[in-house]
């Protein structure tokens, strides 16, 4: 007993010592970033691993912001090679990157992601405008009595919001504030509806912080329910409750088309085509960023980028389309593939 204990203790110390001094070489690509891009990135990684002699890249789902932080932490095997993002890199993030020696960044726009507002097949399909979405979900809205003040959201049913909508209680299941989908929803849908009010629009010039708080603030009185990051759960809840609406990525709508339907927004249904040509208003571009300094040091990065930007992956008939990616228009896709494969770096973004 005594001998085993001592032996164990020695092993532990020896082990800890070797680990701390060992410089760790890496022969697989390390990818971090957005959970929205995660399903696409992993599909490419898996195909890349299967069809080449390189190891399968490791893909972490850290969220866009978390991914940028890791990506910009510096150059070297300890830092990721690629980060996925559900929005373009911010100027502040670019500065942080440059400050840490990550000077050459390649931006690859990979396609679009639509955000669907869906309900059960058993429910009536709603036709909402951005204005109605804002009025139904905002924390504060302009006083319907016309006093010109912003008051806490008084609307209880969709009928209150607009008279030709059904008389059912507003109940929307959606992502929590930590989610990139929520950010995009706030920016595209809520702010889009918010801007239609002259009174709030005027606010932008005078007090931008206040403007943002009004436009992005989602009500907390129980009509908007934060349903966690698990979109499958929202789908299940919608099926159980036909009166509720849910907010999630288009790919979940596509996979569950037999159970749920997307509400029209501005008269347009969320479909592959309407998101692709930009007529569906709540959609955003998604990206990944490559650290050029690692190309050539970590094996396979150039080949991974080539795989991602090949038509069999990101084309309209590629395997990413099966996973719910909405491809870029042909001309843009071709140009983007050329730039990406040539590793064309970007300068500082405007904002």
């Amino acid at each position: 007993m005594r001998k085993t204990l001592i032996a164990a203790a020695v092993t532990v110390t020896a082990f800890a010592a070797t680990v701390s001094v060992q410089a760790v070489a890496r022969d697989t690509i390390s990818i971090v970033g957005s959970s929205t891009v995660f399903p696409f990135s992993t599909a490419v990684a898996e195909n890349f691993g299967r069809t080449t002699n390189f190891g399968t890249p490791k893909v972490e789902s850290t969220g866009t912001g978390g991914g940028m932080k890791l990506f910009c932490a510096g150059v070297g095997v300890g830092t990721p090679d690629i980060t996925n993002a559900s929005r373009a890199i911010k100027a502040s993030e670019y500065d942080a990157c440059v400050a840490n020696g990550v000077k050459d960044i390649v931006e690859v726009k990979i396609g679009f992601d639509g955000i669907a507002i869906a309900s059960s097949k058993d429910a009536e399909q709603l036709d909402l405008g951005l204005k109605e979405i804002f009025l139904a979900l905002a924390k504060v809205v302009p006083d319907p009595e016309g006093s010109g003040k912003l008051i806490p959201n008084p609307y209880k049913t969709w009928y209150d919001v607009r008279a030709n909508l059904p008389k059912i209680e507003i109940e929307v299941l959606g992502p929590p504030p930590t989610s990139g989908t929520r950010d995009a929803f706030a920016e595209l849908a809520m702010e889009g509806g918010c801007k239609t009010f002259e009174q709030i629009k005027a606010l932008k010039a005078t007090d931008e912080d206040q403007y943002k708080a009004v436009c992005h603030g989602i009500r907390e009185d129980g009509h908007y329910i934060e349903a966690g990051e698990n979109d499958n759960l929202i789908v299940q809840k919608l099926v159980a409750n036909p009166d509720a609406l849910g907010i999630f990525g288009y790919s979940f709508l596509e996979q569950n088309a037999d159970k749920i339907q997307g509400s029209k927004v501005g008269g347009v249904e969320p479909t592959y085509d309407s998101i692709s040509d930009g007529s569906y208003p709540i959609s955003r571009s998604i990206y990944f960023y490559v650290k050029k300094a690692h190309v050539g040091t970590i094996p396979g990065i150039a080949e991974y980028v080539a795989e991602f930007t090949s038509d069999k992956a990101w084309g309209p008939e590629g395997y990413l389309a099966d996973k719910g990616l909405i491809a870029l228009p042909d001309a843009e896709r071709k140009a983007m593939a050329k730039d990406a494969q040539a590793m064309k770096t970007i300068g500082k973004p405007a904002k």
């Binding site: 680990v19 701390s20 399903p39 299967r50 300890g78 037999d258």
Partner: protein
């Protein structure tokens, strides 16, 4: 003595008799409440198990399509030299596609062919390659082979996609459905035991996704956690309980250990990120760094259990050993530790079971990741079972729903086995004085 005053004075026994009914009722109520608490608990456990097993048991069977494959030498081995490199690189998907076209010769248009090829999983290339590599004699022969079906076909066969829905709402459209029904009529569609589920790493295709990668990751992580935490915890417990002087310092240490046991696990993850990864440079996403973090988390549990076990060894044992001339060290190692060991092991197993089910601290150290390759050691990138469950639960494909539940069943089986071992150890070795 029959004075009226005495008769009027209530006797104690009457008061007791009077209250007896009330007290019995109170006891019955209490018992009933206790029993219903147990029933409610059991009910929820049953609901949980029924739900998980009901959703997950289908994942252990996987739909395959039987096709007669001609192992075309032109495709597999054009040079005719049986070069293993060449055999590995060949386009095996084409063999399966040719077989499908032979099955449905009327399909000609490109779009239709795409749909037809979509009946099979992209993993069939691997399946066929393995067959040829196992026995190159197959080249040039024709053989009926069961090939993995696509996840949509699998869902349809398992009844998770309703065939009666209008075509626009169905993931399997009319044309593929007709082909599937034709194959079914021929008996060329069957469900087989899903061995890939236990031998594959994860995948984005539900029909190819397996838990082997996560199982190995969990195995390495737990092994290292045990290796790190058990010696440290036992040494701490023995020193604090048997040797350390009782003063303010040891009190402080004790309070801190108890506090540590109550710290939310995500905090350990943050600590691991700052200390092990950023400072010591331990590679991210590996079982090694996972084990270091989980060690911190399980240490207090094991220390507290070990100290309790040491306390329960009666002082007379120590005194007797010292009395016959054993040194304090001999007393500990020859007498006290062996008697306390079952209790310590029970604590360790419970700590390990906790570590097995933990995800929050692993989030910060990069173990929430998509890792296809099965880890071969403690410094390979890996993920663990609960993380795999989390990732599958979040995947949009329908086929992952049953796989999530199946993975939960595997995890539960391990947890139950571990806790059962703890109970049995206690039963077998526990001594009462």
């Amino acid at each position: 003595m029959n004075s009226p005053i005495a008769a009027a004075r209530p006797r104690a026994i009457d008061r007791v008799n009077q209250s007896l009914k009330r007290r019995y009722a109170a006891e019955r109520r209490f018992r009933f409440l206790g029993a219903s608490a147990v029933v409610i608990g059991l009910l929820f456990v049953t609901i949980l198990f029924v739900d998980i097993i009901g959703k997950g048991y289908t994942a252990f069977w996987q739909t395959s399509i039987q096709l007669s494959i001609y192992f075309d030498p032109e495709v597999i081995d054009p040079s005719g030299e049986r070069d293993p490199q060449e055999l590995r690189r060949a386009d095996y998907q084409k063999l399966a596609r040719d077989a499908l076209r032979a099955e449905f010769p009327e399909v000609q248009r490109r779009q239709e062919l795409r749909e037809l090829y979509g009946l099979l999983s992209t993993g069939v290339a691997q399946q066929l390659a393995e067959r040829v590599q196992a026995n190159p004699e197959r080249i040039g022969t024709t053989e009926a082979v069961w090939l993995l079906a696509d996840d949509d076909v699998d869902m349809l066969i398992k009844g998770k996609i309703d065939r009666d829905l209008p075509e626009s709402d169905r993931r399997v459209k009319d044309r593929p459905l007709a082909w599937i029904e034709a194959l079914e009529a021929k008996g060329a569609i069957e469900k087989h035991f899903n061995t890939p589920f236990f031998s594959n790493g994860t995948s984005r295709e539900p029909e190819l996704a397996g838990i082997a990668g996560a199982l190995m990751g969990s195995f390495y992580t737990l092994l290292l956690t045990l290796l790190f935490s058990f010696p440290i915890a036992v040494a701490t417990a023995v020193y604090l309980e048997e040797f350390a002087p009782k003063n303010r310092w040891t009190d402080l240490i004790e309070v801190n250990i108890n506090n540590l046991a109550a710290v939310p696990s995500i905090v350990f993850g943050l600590l691991g990120l700052a200390v092990f990864i950023n400072f010591f440079g331990v590679p991210r996403s590996t079982p090694l760094v996972g084990a270091l973090v989980l060690t911190l988390m399980t240490l207090p549990t094991i220390i507290i259990a070990s100290r309790a076990a040491l306390k329960s060894v009666p002082p007379s044992i120590r005194e007797a050993a010292l009395g016959v001339g054993a040194s304090p060290l001999q007393t500990q190692f020859h007498h006290v530790l062996p008697l306390a060991m079952p209790g310590m092991l029970t604590g360790t197993i419970i700590g390990m079971a906790q570590a097995l089910g933990e995800t929050a601290p692993l989030l910060m150290i990069g173990m929430i990741a998509f890792i296809v390759d099965i880890p071969g050691g403690a410094t390979d990138a890996a993920t663990v079972l609960p993380v795999q469950i989390f990732l599958w639960a979040d995947s949009p494909e329908r086929g992952f729903v049953e796989r999530t539940s199946a993975a939960i069943m595997v995890l539960l089986a391990f947890l139950i086995a571990m806790n059962l071992t703890a109970v049995m150890l206690r039963r077998k070795f526990e001594r009462r004085w």
